[in-house]
Symmetry: C2
Subunit: 117 residues, 2 copies
């Protein structure tokens, strides 16, 4: 019946945990993707309309929860430091996207993009 | 990498909406299942350690959001009234369970049961 009428819809939210602690959800993966693109937490934060402080704290939490750095931060220097995904970070982001695609396919025609976590 | 170590896990939450309003999530479906089993909102509420008032308000919200009754309530009478799922209610519950099974399968070996909504 969910598919019978167009005003019915399905929402799916997915997140990855390690040891019961959240590592990645949609918002975190978006942040990592932007860090990868801009090599800067500050630029990524701006794109997400998020404070630098919040983005920093998310990055720290992601790294801690993952048990290894997914984001590597270099502070100081002439450019004011930068940030980049580690190999594991890239892998985690790619795997998360694959998971979401798989779930979206499985949910069928009613599914909408997962809501921001 | 999520599957490489046993302490990594995936959580999936799914809910059904109509016109942007939540109709069914895991908790609501559990409530409907218990109403179907006990023919009583009060007994279903007790099983879920939920107040009668809260269960009643959920049932009303489910029916309103669905745009048609999924639960039929009969008040008064010698037995103090009762409650039962309508045909559409049963169908919605079955379809929700099918969806969750499909998503769990798609999530692969790391998925855990969806968290309560």
């Amino acid at each position: 019946m969910f598919s019978g009428q167009s005003d019915w819809g399905l929402k799916v939210r997915v997140w990855v945990e390690r040891g019961g602690r959240k590592v990645l959800g949609r918002g975190r993966v978006e942040l990592l993707g932007l860090i990868d693109q801009h090599h800067s937490i500050s630029a990524a934060a701006k794109r997400m309309r998020m404070s630098y402080r919040r983005a920093w704290s998310l990055v720290r939490d992601i790294n801690e929860a993952a048990g290894e750095p997914l984001v590597e931060v270099t502070t100081g220097g002439p450019g004011g430091g930068g940030a980049a995904l580690t190999r594991r970070g890239r892998k985690a982001v790619a795997e998360y996207h694959r998971l979401v695609r798989r779930l979206t396919r499985a949910a069928g025609p009613f599914s909408r993009p997962p809501s921001r976590d």
